[in-house]
C-alpha cells in the first residue's frame, strides 16, 4: 500500500526521508563492501531486484483494486538480509512510482520505511525466530509473510495518522480510523500473500 505523491504534508515527508536515508546509506555501504569481496553478486542482486519489482507489479488473484504488495521485499529480506533489501527496495519503490505511478517522490521516504525497511525486517525476524524454535517451515513462511504485510500496513497507517491526527483525541483515534478503513483490503491481502508465499516456497523447494 503506497502513499501517493502529495499526500503527506511538511514536515512529515521530510521526517520520513531523513529516517530512511541513513538506512539507505548504510545499506549502500554494506553492499559496496560485499561487492568488493565478490563482484559476481551485482548481477544476481540486479536480477533479484527485477524479480521483486515484477512480483509486486503482478495483480494478486481475487483482490480487486490492490496495487503493489510487499511480498517481494520479504523474500529479499530472507535471502539477502535487511540492509541489502533496503537498497533494492528503495530502487524498486522508485521504479514503481515512475513506471506505475504507485507512490511518489516526496512520499518515497515514508514508503521506503514501511515497505522496504520495517515490514521486511519484521518478517525477517519473525522468520528467524520461528526457524530457531524449529516451527513448521511452511507455517513460518506463512506467518512471516503475513506479519510483513500487516506491519507494513500498520506503519503506513501510523505515518498517515501522525500527519493527520484527529482534532479531538489526537493521534490515536486517527490511527484507529486509518487502520479501520484500510483493513478492508489489507487484511485479506496479507492472508493471500501468506498463502502465495507458501506456494512459492513449496515450488522452489520441490525443484
Amino acid at each position: 500500500m503506497h502513499i501517493m505523491e502529495g499526500f503527506l504534508p511538511s514536515p512529515w515527508w521530510q521526517i520520513w526521508w531523513i529516517l530512511a536515508l541513513p538506512c539507505l546509506v548504510y545499506g549502500l555501504y554494506k553492499l559496496k563492501k560485499l561487492l568488493d569481496e565478490n563482484r559476481e553478486l551485482l548481477p544476481l542482486l540486479g536480477v533479484a531486484g527485477g524479480f521483486i519489482f515484477v512480483l509486486s507489479a503482478l495483480k494478486l488473484p481475487s483482490v480487486t483494486g490492490s496495487c503493489s504488495h510487499p511480498t517481494g521485499t520479504a523474500l529479499s529480506a530472507i535471502t539477502f538480509g535487511p540492509w541489502i533489501t533496503c537498497v533494492i527496495g528503495f530502487i524498486v519503490l522508485l521504479f514503481q512510482s515512475l513506471f506505475l505511478a504507485h507512490g511518489g517522490i516526496t512520499t518515497l521516504g515514508a514508503n521506503v520505511m514501511s515497505m522496504a525497511i520495517i515490514g521486511p525486517v519484521a518478517g525477517y525476524f519473525v522468520y528467524k525466530a520461528l526457524d530457531k524454535i524449529n516451527f513448521n517451515f511452511f507455517a513460518s513462511i506463512f506467518i512471516a509473510a503475513f506479519i510483513c504485510d500487516i506491519v507494513t500496513y500498520c506503519i503506513t497507517s501510523l505515518e498517515l495518522a501522525l500527519a493527520f491526527p484527529a482534532t479531538s483525541g489526537g493521534f490515536l483515534p486517527s490511527l484507529a480510523a486509518y487502520l479501520g478503513v484500510f483493513a478492508v483490503t489489507q487484511i485479506p491481502l496479507a492472508i493471500i500473500e501468506g498463502l502465495v508465499f507458501v506456494v512459492i516456497f513449496k515450488y522452489i523447494i520441490i525443484l
Partner: protein, 267 residues
C-alpha cells in the same frame, strides 16, 4: 496481463528530446511547490498546466492520461474520509450519529483541509506523471551520475531496470499459458496458479542472474558501466521558460496562501 509501463510511453513522447535536466527541474519543482502549498489554488494550477503540457506538448493520448489519473483515486478517497471526519474545526456542516455511541461530523474546516490535501495530491500526481511520461529512466541514469549518486546504486538500478522488462514479458507469457489451460478458476486454484508462476519466475531469475555473470565476464567486466552520451540539445531558452514558470507558480502559491475552499481561515 499485458503490462503498460509509463516508461515505455516516455520513450516515444513528444518532449523526448528536451534536455532531461530541464524536465526533472520542472517536475520536481512543481512537486515541491505543490506539497508545500497552503492553499488549493497553486496545486490546482499546477495540475491543469502540467496536464495541458502532457497532452499538448508531450502528445500523450488523452484517453490514456485520463485512465492514469484514476490510478490514485482509490487511495485518495479512502484516506480522505479520515480527514473529512476527524479533522474538525469551524461550523458543522453534516453530522451522522452512529449506533448512539458517537457522532460522525463533517465541518467547514475538515472540508477545507480535505480539498487542500486532494489538490496537493492532484498537483503532486500530475507532476509525477509529467516526470514519468516525459523523462525516460534511461536518461535519468545519466543525471544521477552527474549529481554523484554512488556508482553502486546506479549500476544496480540499471541491471534491475533491464531485467524488469525481461521478466515482465516472461511473467506475461506464463500467465497467458496458465489462463489458456483454464488456471485461475476458483480461489484455491488461483492462489496455487499464481504461486507457481511466481516460483517459476524466481527460479528463472536465478538462472538469468547466473547467465548474466557469464555475459559480463565474456565482455571483460572490470567493475565499470558505460553511461549514455549527453543529449546535444540543451537549450537556455527551455531552462529560462521553466524557471519563469516555477517562479510564477511559486508566486501564485505565496499570494494565495490565505485562501481556502469555503472561505474560512484554517484554524
Amino acid at each position: 496481463m499485458y503490462y503498460e509501463f509509463l516508461e515505455d510511453i516516455a520513450q516515444t513522447n513528444g518532449l523526448r528530446n528536451v534536455n532531461s535536466a530541464v524536465k526533472v527541474l520542472l517536475g520536481l519543482g512543481c512537486i515541491l511547490i505543490s506539497v508545500s502549498s497552503n492553499s488549493f489554488i497553486a496545486p490546482l494550477f499546477i495540475s491543469i498546466s502540467l496536464s495541458l503540457i502532457i497532452i499538448l506538448l508531450a502528445k500523450i493520448n488523452p484517453g490514456l492520461y485520463l485512465k492514469l489519473l484514476s490510478v490514485p483515486l482509490g487511495f485518495a478517497l479512502t484516506s480522505i474520509i479520515v480527514i473529512l471526519f476527524l479533522r474538525n474545526s469551524g461550523e458543522v456542516i453534516f453530522s451522522l450519529p452512529v449506533l448512539n455511541t458517537f457522532i460522525l461530523t463533517i465541518t467547514s474546516g475538515s472540508i477545507n483541509e480535505s480539498v487542500l490535501v486532494l489538490s496537493r495530491l492532484s498537483g503532486g500526481m500530475c507532476s509525477l506523471y509529467f516526470l514519468a511520461l516525459t523523462t525516460p529512466m534511461t536518461e535519468m541514469f545519466l543525471l544521477a551520475k552527474k549529481i554523484h549518486v554512488p556508482d553502486v546504486f546506479i549500476d544496480l538500478s540499471m541491471i534491475i531496470y533491464r531485467f524488469i522488462f525481461v521478466l515482465i514479458e516472461e511473467a506475461g507469457q506464463i500467465y497467458s499459458a496458465q489462463t489458456m489451460r483454464l488456471g485461475y478458476g476458483n480461489f484455491k486454484e488461483s492462489i496455487n496458479t499464481f504461486g507457481m508462476m511466481a516460483g517459476s519466475l524466481f527460479i528463472n531469475s536465478w538462472n538469468k542472474g547466473e547467465n548474466l555473470i557469464n555475459a559480463m565476464e565474456t565482455r571483460c567486466y572490470d567493475g565499470k558501466f558505460a553511461m549514455l552520451e549527453e543529449t546535444p540539445d540543451f537549450s537556455i531558452s527551455n531552462l529560462l521558460l521553466v524557471i519563469i514558470f516555477l517562479t510564477a507558480v511559486f508566486t501564485i502559491s505565496y499570494l494565495t496562501s490565505e485562501i481556502s475552499f469555503l472561505g474560512d481561515v484554517l484554524s
